[in-house]
């Protein structure tokens, strides 16, 4: 009887558990899994001239992976995303380090607050500001012209991959600073003293103790910056003036302008696949730094 009672209790526990997670589960299925499945399904259909026919084939993928235009644009997206990630993390680390190690504890929260200031304005406005700064008749060019450093406006500071990287790096800096800051905060300061006590200089201690212990934050920062930037759509459109499309712009063209949803879907799935491979590879590469720390 006791046994029956027990299993009865177990069933009701499982049932109430399912009941408890069901809102989240329904949300996840409806809003994440279902759209994804739809996109994957679309990518396997045949489209063109606004028509979708139910002919399953891999032709879209063959087009995407062999077409030189798609390859070039995917490559540009990767270069921009890697560049932005590198610039952002390299700039964010010293800032996070400074706030964590050299700012008085009572003032840390105000520093973090200040770091989030860029979020106060819309991203569109920030992108336009960079256009104003870097443009042909922008702040940099007219400034340099007026003090006589240059004779004609610099071309290489606008409408190129560099300008894209600058704009995106600025936008994503807080996303990189915060996880690195958190991981630095978690480091027991006596570990740094131990490093010096055992004969290492401050710099060496940084390399052997601080950096490895903050790698979890660096990895988080890299993923947080890399994944959204590779699919960024607004920045190349505005800063690149339509001349520097990235993969998301290509999707937009196929989905909306050419109205070839299956091909657009195939681009989306391919991009997702590449991002997933890179992200997983990066995480595996840094496996020893993740987890296992208390």
């Amino acid at each position: 009887m006791a046994k029956a009672n027990q299993s009865g209790l177990g069933r009701s526990e499982a049932a109430s558990g399912l009941l408890l997670i069901s809102p989240t589960a329904i949300y996840a299925v409806l809003l994440l899994a279902a759209p994804l499945a739809t996109v994957v399904m679309f990518s396997l259909l045949t489209g063109g001239r606004g028509q979708i026919t139910w002919d399953f084939s891999l032709q879209n993928y063959i087009d995407v992976w062999t077409g030189p235009v798609y390859r070039a644009i995917m490559l540009r997206s990767l270069i921009v995303a890697f560049g932005v990630t590198l610039v952002t993390v390299v700039i964010a680390y010293p800032i996070a380090y400074f706030v964590s190690f050299h700012v008085e504890p009572s003032k840390k929260s105000i520093w973090l607050f200040l770091i989030t200031i860029p979020f106060w304005t819309s991203y569109l406005i920030r992108v336009f500001l960079w256009k104003v700064i870097l443009g042909y008749n922008g702040v940099v060019n007219s400034g340099l012209l007026s003090i006589g450093v240059i004779d004609e406006p610099l071309q290489w500071i606008n409408y190129n991959v560099g300008a894209l990287i600058v704009t995106l790096a600025h936008a994503y800096a807080p996303f990189a600073i915060l996880p690195i800051f958190v991981s630095l905060e978690k480091i027991d300061r006596s570990l740094l003293e131990a490093g010096q006590d055992l004969g290492e200089s401050r710099l060496r201690t940084f390399w052997r103790v601080t950096l490895p212990l903050s790698m979890a934050g660096v990895i988080a920062a890299v993923l947080i910056v890399f994944i959204p930037t590779i699919g960024d759509y607004v920045t190349p459109d505005l800063i690149g003036g339509g001349k520097l499309p990235m993969i998301a712009n290509m999707m937009e063209v196929q989905m909306l302008k050419v109205n070839n949803k299956p091909l657009g879907s195939a681009i989306a799935v391919s991009a997702m696949f590449i991002v997933a491979i890179i992200a997983v590879g990066f995480v595996l590469l840094n496996r020893r730094f993740i987890g296992g720390q208390k």
């Binding site: 006596s190 003293e193 131990a194 006590d197 055992l198 296992g292």
Partner: protein, 365 residues
């Protein structure tokens, strides 16, 4: 017994300020080579700060710290011949046990193989043979402690600094580690400087102890002297239990002091039993609980005897603590008695004969 040993660490009038706060107030002391030295005091007394000035983690505002005869003023922590066992052990969580122990060997000119042997030996010395490949974060508190010890001792420092290394361990483990530290210290012969707030730990482990209060060393002596002849009521109170009864100095001359102590009557004390130089109002006589003995039927006092009434009994198994009022006093004093088979534990209210000896009394004035 250590008199012949040379000085390893010397403090000359060391002061340390944190802003307005005067953390170290003129520390002058020397620690001998090869001794087990403890800095004992309540939290905030400056003992950890003093230890950190030896390690080089804390600069000093004025004064001199000499290590093996060399002024440490401009020597950074990583260049000092000291190693530290941190209170939190500071085991690197991203490294394995052997990587932790071998951390300080990077610049060692020996080959990788010789270093691996040295690491294995160090682990064996602290009783962690075969633990080298374990992840550091998977260790228990006691094991971390041992790794921290091996990591420091493998570098053969002149001085090993221990910052409350046992405070995070449970009682059994702590007692075991105390014995182990004593054994290790004898084995390697390195000067150990221990910071602790636990008086018992200091008494058990140290050759000499510096008792600190409010940034000053109040008394520096071997454990026995510290226990039997504390130089102030503060030290007496901090180390073990001490009873105090009011006393009046009736005459002073030569090498003896005559006092009239409540409950004891007129007693002649040698000057070595008299602490403090000035005579403010209210001198007192102190004595340890075990220096008084309750006499049972048929026992006679070796020296002096007085009558008392038992007011409280606390039974501890091997010991019994009695609070008794000596005739002629109004505050009870504590007596600790070792329990002997067949002897009864007295009840509250019992009249008892108490044996005492003038030699066990200390006068504080």
């Amino acid at each position: 017994m250590n008199a012949a040993k040379p000085t390893m660490i010397e403090f000359r009038d060391v002061h340390k300020y944190y802003g307005d706060y005067h953390a170290l107030r003129g520390i002058t002391a020397s620690i001998r080579a090869g001794e087990f030295f403890s800095l004992l005091g309540p939290s905030g007394c400056g003992k950890t700060t003093l230890l950190r000035t030896i390690a080089g983690f804390e600069g000093i505002s004025s004064g001199v710290v000499l290590l093996d005869g060399k002024d440490m003023a401009n020597v950074p922590a990583n260049k000092r011949p000291t190693n530290m066992v941190f209170q939190s052990y500071a085991i690197f969580p991203h490294l394995s046990v052997e990587e932790n122990v071998g951390f300080g060997l990077r610049r060692d000119p020996r080959s990788a193989r010789e270093k691996a042997v040295a690491v294995a030996e160090a682990l064996e010395m602290v009783g962690l043979k075969g633990y080298g490949k374990r992840a550091a974060h998977a260790l228990s508190g006691g094991q971390r402690q041992r790794v921290a010890l091996a990591r420091a001792l493998i570098l053969k420092p002149k001085v090993l600094l221990l910052d409350e290394p046992l405070s995070a361990l449970d009682k059994k483990m702590r007692e075991q580690m105390q014995m182990e530290l004593i054994r290790l210290q004898r084995q390697v012969g390195i000067t150990f400087v221990l910071v602790t707030h636990d008086q018992e730990e200091a008494l058990v482990m140290s050759d000499r102890i510096a008792v600190m209060f409010e940034g000053e060393i109040t008394q520096l002596a071997d454990p026995e002297t510290l226990y039997r002849r504390p130089n102030s009521r503060k030290v007496a109170d901090f180390i073990g239990t001490m009873n105090f009864v009011p006393a009046q100095i009736t005459s002073e001359g030569g090498d003896v002091v005559e006092v009239d102590a409540q409950g004891f009557g007129k007693v002649t004390l040698k000057t070595e039993q008299c602490m403090g130089k000035t005579t403010p109002t209210g001198a007192s006589v102190g004595f340890r609980p075990e220096t008084l003995t309750i006499l049972f039927d048929g026992q006679t006092a070796a020296d002096r005897e007085t009558m008392a009434t038992v007011t409280e009994v606390v039974y501890y198994g091997d010991m019994t603590y009695y609070d008794v009022k000596l005739d002629g006093t109004d505050q009870p004093v504590r007596i600790s008695m070792r329990n002997v088979f067949g002897r009864p534990v007295l009840d509250i209210g019992t009249r008892a004969r108490v044996a005492w000896s003038p030699g066990a009394l200390v006068l504080f004035r």
